[in-house]
């Protein structure tokens, strides 16, 4: 199981504060959390590869984004639990790097 805080992005609405729609991975995401990397994983080549840990597809991009608000099922919430879908309202730098299929995360060296 991955112990990294990650958010799989499905869609993005850009603005003064950008909003990313997606799914929380294995570590809960809370208000105030900071993300500093965006990356993609290689799609599994075979069905058996789904049982392995994912590998990065390309070099990660550096961002500095803070979770200002979280919404799920049309309600503001304090956190997203693993597997939950929702919308993160983010402030900071790097929203332009976000897009469907990308993963918002924390870099190894932070």
């Amino acid at each position: 199981m991955s112990s990294k805080k990650e958010f799989i992005i499905m869609g993005v609405v850009e603005g003064y504060l950008c909003r990313a729609i997606g799914r929380c991975c294995d570590v809960p995401i809370r208000l105030g959390d900071q993300f500093d990397a965006v990356y993609r994983y290689k799609p599994p080549a075979t069905l058996e590869d789904y049982a392995k840990e994912p590998e990065l597809e390309a070099e990660e991009r550096r961002v500095s984004l803070r979770v200002e608000a979280i919404q799920s099922y049309e309600r503001p919430v304090s956190h997203l639990s693993p597997g939950m879908t929702g919308t993160l309202q983010l402030s900071g730098v790097g929203c332009n790097f976000l897009g469907p299929g990308w993963v918002l995360g924390v870099s190894e060296d932070s």
Binding site: R23, C24, L47, Y73, R75, H79, P82, G83, G86
Partner: protein, 173 residues
């Protein structure tokens, strides 16, 4: 027939063989909800706080959830008549299209207790593979791979859904 109505209230109080017979007799081609999860899992605190159970009208989606949930215990697919929950259905979340999601205003354990049948992730996968639905991984190690499996999954037809239900009812214990 009054026995058919009994299925709408307390399905699990009815012996399995009779439940199977009633489903085939009273609810042929009915709409069902499917939920893939870990057996006995009460739901994460975030979901419990929102008082929501995520289900799907697509058994393949539920099966992928069940396979992913097998990381934590026995992955299962709960199957329930949709009409039992019609007053409890609330707007779905952002992934309505991707997951064919139907959100139910119930705690996950309550939904599990009110479901009609439960089969294992392996049984659900075997049924779908036998229906010639490909690209269903036998195991999923993380949510990134799970998400990808959801995105690239085969499109299921209403005939597939009905056949899935028929076969799942037969193997449920």
């Amino acid at each position: 027939m009054w026995l058919c109505d009994l299925l709408l209230t307390r399905p699990q109080s009815i012996p399995l063989a009779l439940r199977r017979w009633l489903h085939e007799r009273c609810y042929k081609n009915a709409e069902y909800l499917f939920r893939g999860t870990t057996r006995g899992f009460p739901g994460h605190d975030g979901v419990r706080e929102l008082h929501r159970t995520c289900t799907s009208t697509d058994p393949l989606v539920a099966t992928l959830f069940a396979i992913e949930s097998s990381r934590y215990g026995e992955g299962v697919v709960h199957i329930a008549l949709r009409r039992r929950f019609r007053r409890l259905i609330v707007p779905a979340n952002n992934y309505e299209n991707l997951e064919r999601e139907v959100a139910v205003n119930l705690l996950p354990v309550t939904f599990a207790a009110r479901s009609d049948f439960t089969i294992t992730a392996q049984q659900a996968r075997d049924i779908l593979v036998n229906l010639a639905l490909a690209n269903i991984p036998p195991a999923i190690a993380n949510l990134n791979h799970f998400h990808l499996a959801l995105v690239i999954r085969a499109r299921i037809t209403e005939e597939h859904v009905q056949e899935f239900i028929k076969r799942a009812i037969r193997v449920a214990v």
